[in-house]
């Protein structure tokens, strides 16, 4: 929303602070100001001038004009009367008219503040006529889109040489307001409401115009004018309609202050009726719509207008004012003439009842609609007009009649009001909120007095009664957002400035550590210190990625409104995402690397949590990638085993078993990670076909761990005990020749069993198998010592004999 600072200040008491400070205050106490467009110098060197002489140049579209600029422009040639020569191509230029002249050296206002400001100068036209500056069209002074002619100024406001900006108060600053933070404040979407708030934060007492607070119809309804309104109150809480009749007066050709206000709010002047409705919307926040009365009646086939507001029917169509045809749904609200659609409520009128230059009578609509329905209309039809932006905030029903009557008064030169009709017979009871001073100060941490609270609230037209500690607050009809004590407390805090509240730290207790968070930090420390790189990848994956790794799409939650197919499914495990990110790193020149990620995964097979939301699993995924084709199983295993050992988790590697999500592991070269009788993860080589689909060489290895299970294991782990011997230790190599299919783990277990009474260290050295042989040699390096004495040579020999006999 764009708000003109000049317009805002009208009607406020004199403001003693600078614009900059005012904008800061608005930002601190009302709404986020996204930016300030400074138009103070936008109309520099643009003047009102009178065309004193105007002669058409034959066979061209140009006229040679002499203008009276009151002598203000410098560096121009003047004729003997002191007039300046300007060539003008506009068809409506004529002698005697007042126009806006952009003098040489001025920036054309429509280009002011843009990347390419255009400075007007003096040109020679048709090879012989000097033309100083130019007379401007509405588009050139940024007050409309019209380029068919130049703008004409009313002689009552214009005098030669008067600065154009001074006529319309255009030395202005425009505030760009972030609408989001006013979602709950429909009343501030009109300059009146915005101004009331600014008064409040400046400590000024604001009073709305009498007619706004208490609408009085200042004309008698013409008995001959009939109009029926039928509404569904859920969809349309209040509908007011005025019938106006043309006075026959011609529309003026001159530009009005109102048109400049529309332009400052980013709208465009169209014709006096539309402009008057738009201006009322900008001023009071109440959108209005004008129907052509005779077309309305004709469409409905009735003698007098029969307005029926109802939900649209499925597939019902309506051609809108802008020429597009919408197909409506039952979520849309439609205004009908005797059941024939004539407007998409809140959004746009229909082409079938549009006013035009032949319009004799008007039905002026002023209504409120269900913001919930209009929000759906907005989304379904992509209409984001100024009107629907306001309607979707929930405009107060209390203002439909006063604003309609106000608009009729604004239009009275051209249209005479005949009758007013309104579905509201009695004003609803105002909302009253009772609270105490203690509640206010207790929630904010302040020490306001009841008098201060009363003044703050009364400044913005709340009714306030003080009774002992009790404060009774009556919300004005436009404050539809006020319901509970906290709403009032917010007003007090906001209007006085939250920033004036003294920050005071409360005493705090000690915090409980979060063990899963701590575990993840520990894992991060371990893996990264061993050269692995932690990554984060999206929680959403492409269906194609699941197909590559053999995961079933039925087991994944599908996003129905995904941004792209790349992000269509909630991932079932981490490894596929890591595989997906590996090729890019290989190609970037990293020959060998390890990636890992810890994050939540949500395969459907996990079912639901106690609160009926999908059960997630915090998972660690790790991949080891080598650009060369070779098995990385034992590398991944080394990382896994080291990690689990440091964490103190007891586990075993068991025969690989399939789960709902682990289809990417090569079963013959993979293992299940088992603790007790629970599988807590998998370790293995990625299937060759899967690696290939990611453009990765065969042999990529990975592991994954269920972090919840790991946490339970790590927590349950006994504290690590150290035993060091004070006696010399013996260093020996051991090579065992065993059958080729003997599992390494069996051998190691046997060695450990043989050494169980000693303090020892065991390191595997190599596994050797000759080509074609059916045995293999497994070598270890051992260091062992007795806990209580120095080992004798014979004892050492006995130990070695036992070890060497292991098969």
């Amino acid at each position: 929303m764009l708000v003109s600072l000049n317009w805002l200040k009208q009607g406020l008491d004199k403001i003693t602070i600078s614009d900059e400070e005012l904008v800061k205050l608005i930002g601190a106490r009302l709404v986020e100001v996204e930016g300030v467009i400074d138009n103070t110098h936008k109309y520099d060197k643009v003047y009102a001038v009178q065309v004193k002489y105007c002669e058409k140049i034959p066979d061209t579209h140009l006229s040679l004009c002499k203008i009276d600029d009151g002598g203000v422009a410098e560096d121009v040639e003047r004729d003997s009367d002191g007039y300046v020569q300007v060539m003008c191509g506009a068809p409506n230029v004529h002698e005697g008219m007042f126009a806006a002249w952009v003098a040489p050296g001025a920036i054309v206002p429509s280009t002011f503040g843009t990347d390419e400001p255009f400075k007007i100068g003096t040109r020679k036209m048709l090879g012989k006529y000097d033309s100083y500056g130019m007379m401007a069209g509405a588009d050139e002074v940024d007050l409309g889109d019209d380029h068919t002619g130049i703008i004409e100024l009313d002689s009552s406001v214009a005098e030669p040489g008067k600065a154009f900006a001074d006529i319309f108060n255009l030395k202005d600053k425009i505030l760009d307001i972030e609408n989001k933070s006013l979602t709950h404040r429909p009343d501030t979407f009109g300059i009146l409401g915005f101004r009331r708030e600014v008064a409040g934060i400046l400590g000024q007492k604001f009073t709305s115009p009498e007619w706004y607070l208490d609408a009085k119809q200042d004309f008698e309804n013409d008995k001959n004018v009939k109009l029926d309104i039928a509404i569904d109150e859920k969809l349309c809480p209040r509908y007011t309609a005025l019938v106006l009749e043309s006075t026959g007066a011609e529309y003026p050709k001159t530009i009005s202050t109102g048109a400049t206000l529309l332009a400052r709010a980013g709208m465009r002047p169209i014709d006096p009726v539309v402009d008057a409705t738009n201006l009322c919307m900008l001023t009071y926040g109440q959108p209005l719509h004008a129907f052509d009365y005779d077309k309305f009646v004709a469409v409905g086939g009735t003698d007098s207008p029969k307005i029926i507001v109802r939900a649209a029917k499925k597939g019902e169509k309506l051609e809108l004012l802008d020429g597009t045809t919408v197909e409506m749904t039952p979520d849309d609200i439609v205004i009908t003439s005797n059941d024939v659609p004539v407007a998409l409520a809140g959004a746009m009128g229909g082409a079938n009842t549009a006013i035009d230059e032949n319009t004799k009578r008007i039905i002026l609509e002023s209504a409120t609609f269900s913001l919930y329905n209009l929000r759906k209309t907005q989304m379904a039809h992509g209409i984001f007009s100024e009107a629907i932006t306001r309607f979707t905030k929930g405009q107060p029903a209390g203002q439909t009649l006063p604003v309609a009557l106000r608009c009729a008064r604004d239009l009275q030169a051209y249209f005479k009001p005949l009758a007013a009709f309104d579905t509201q017979k009695e004003a609803p009871e105002p909302i009253v909120v009772d609270l105490t001073l203690g509640q206010i100060n207790g929630l904010l941490g302040t020490d306001f007095t009841d008098k201060q609270v009363k003044t703050l609230l009364e400044n913005v037209e709340f009714g306030v009664e003080l009774d002992g500690d009790k404060i009774s607050v009556v919300a004005p009809f436009w404050r539809t957002d006020i319901h509970i004590a906290e709403d009032i407390i917010e007003e007090v805090g906001r209007l006085s400035g939250f920033d004036s509240i003294k920050p005071v730290l409360p005493l705090h207790a000690t915090a409980d550590p979060n063990s899963l968070f701590a575990l993840k930090t520990q894992i991060r420390n371990i893996l990264s210190a061993r050269g692995a790189n932690e990554v984060l990848t999206y929680s959403f994956v492409h269906g194609g990625l699941m197909a590559k790794v053999g995961q079933k799409p039925e087991n994944a939650y599908k996003i129905v409104n995904s941004i792209s197919p790349d992000l269509q499914y909630v991932r079932q495990s981490i490894i596929p995402s890591l595989l997906d990110k590996s090729y890019g790193n290989l190609r970037a020149g990293y020959g060998r690397f390890a990636l890992y990620e810890m994050n939540q995964v949500y395969p459907k097979n996990l079912g639901f949590d106690d609160d009926k939301t999908p059960q997630g699993l915090p998972q660690l995924g790790f991949v080891f990638v080598d650009g060369k084709e070779q098995s990385n199983y034992y590398l991944a295993k080394k990382y896994l085993e080291n990690l689990l050992e440091v964490l103190g988790a007891k586990y075993e590697l068991g025969k690989f078993t399939n789960s709902a999500t682990n289809s990417y592991y090569e079963p013959k070269r993979s293992a299940s990670i088992v603790a007790g009788n629970m599988t807590i993860g998998y370790l293995g080589e990625i299937k060759g076909s899967v690696a290939k689909s990611f453009k990765l060489p065969r042999g990529v290895a990975a592991f994954e761990l269920d972090l919840t299970a790991l946490l339970a294991l790590a927590r349950g782990a006994a504290a690590k005990t150290f035993r060091l011997s004070n006696y010399p230790s013996v260093s020996r190599d051991l090579t065992l020749t065993v059958a080729g299919d003997t599992a390494y783990a069996e051998l190691e277990a046997k060695i450990r069993d043989a050494l169980k009474d000693y303090i020892y260290k065991l390191s595997p050295v190599s596994i050797y198998q000759a080509d074609g042989a059916d045995t293999k040699n497994v070598s270890f390096h051992l260091e062992f010592a007795h806990p209580d004495k120095t080992l004798e040579k014979s004892e050492i020999q006995d130990i070695m004999d036992t070890l060497e006999s292991i098969k």
């Binding site: 939250f498 509240i501 979060n514 990848t537 929680s539 390890a594 293992a671």
Partner: protein, 320 residues
């Protein structure tokens, strides 16, 4: 059973069959086409199965318990200087450590939630336009990858309500991954991290909230900071505010600019009620802010997309 090669030949031959369609009477073409397609699907499935079986046969089993390959080298870790921690996670650790030092428990946010936690329990009226501001994703079942960590408020309040009865305050920080359905560019991500804070006691005030938030940022940036607020609107807080800090010296601040850090406010009575906490006895405040933004500021990162890119070129800048 047919060999893989035979199956492939058969598939090739089937291709030639297609050409015959045009010679058939029009009324038989559809049937013929269907039959060929069905046959083609069968063949493709058989080929895939045969290929998978062939891959299996190719694969030699390995000793899952061994330390290294037969005749292979003993594996060695990559060098430590190659490793890195993700900057977002390091930042979260930093943030969490400060909150813990200030007496806040830590609870992590879920990544797939429902309408109730995301909106209903947070006092969003059904169909209210405020819901639009969150651009949520949805699954077929109507679940929501949460668009803010506030989705955890109801759970955290319920789980800790007993503390109030014990005369203690609820003080919890909730870090988590959140999602918004928006196109990404250098400054926008659909996936990012937030940290929520929730505090409830018998008598805490907005003044307490401002003090806690200032304290957090002063510890985080290691300097005294000026703060200011702007009115905001969130259905789950009343009053609602945007919280700003003076640009810290470590980010090049010279006492002029302001940084918008988070949204905050006093918890709406309906939110307390929904969690079974009596709003006439207890009151609280809550806030939520982005973690990604802290990183963007700290490292003057010019493109937020690096964070989820898993590019080593980027990550290795954060070697540990």
């Amino acid at each position: 059973m047919a060999t893989l090669q035979e199956l492939k030949n058969e598939l090739k031959a089937l291709g030639a069959e297609y050409a015959k369609i045009k010679d058939l009477p029009a009324d038989q073409r559809a049937d013929f086409g269907k039959k060929i397609n069905l046959k083609k699907q069968q063949l493709n499935a058989e080929i895939a199965a045969a290929e998978a079986a062939a891959e299996q046969e190719d694969v030699a089993p390995l000793d899952i318990s061994a330390p290294c390959d037969i005749n292979g080298q003993m594996p060695e870790f990559l060098t430590a200087d190659f490793g890195s921690k993700h900057p977002l996670m390091t930042e979260l650790d930093r943030v969490i450590a400060i909150y813990q030092s200030m007496g806040f428990d830590i609870a992590e946010s879920v990544q797939l939630d429902d309408e109730y936690h995301m909106f209903d329990s947070l006092n969003f009226a059904k169909g209210h336009p405020a819901r639009d501001g969150y651009d949520t994703f949805r699954t077929e079942e109507g679940f929501i990858p949460p668009a803010h960590t506030s989705t955890m408020q109801n759970r955290v309040l319920k789980a800790n309500a007993h503390k109030l009865k014990e005369g203690k305050a609820i003080a919890v920080a909730v870090p988590g991954r959140v999602y918004r359905n928006e196109d990404i560019d250098a400054t926008h991500e659909h996936t990012f991290y937030q940290c929520e804070g929730v505090y409830v006691s018998e008598d805490c005030t907005l003044g307490n909230m401002l003090a806690i938030l200032r304290e957090f940022f002063e510890k985080y940036y290691g300097q005294k900071l000026n703060i200011k607020t702007q009115p905001g609107y969130f259905p789950f807080t009343e009053p609602s505010l945007e919280f700003l800090i003076e640009k810290p010296a470590s980010l090049g601040g010279k006492g002029d600019g302001w940084l918008e850090m988070l949204g905050c406010g006093m918890i709406h009575p309906n939110v307390l009620k929904a969690a079974g906490i009596d709003p006439t006895k207890y009151q609280g405040f809550a806030w939520g802010g982005g973690i990604d933004r802290l990183i963007m500021l700290r490292y003057q990162l010019n493109d937020i997309r690096y964070l989820e890119s898993a590019k080593l070129d980027f990550l290795k800048e954060f070697a540990c």
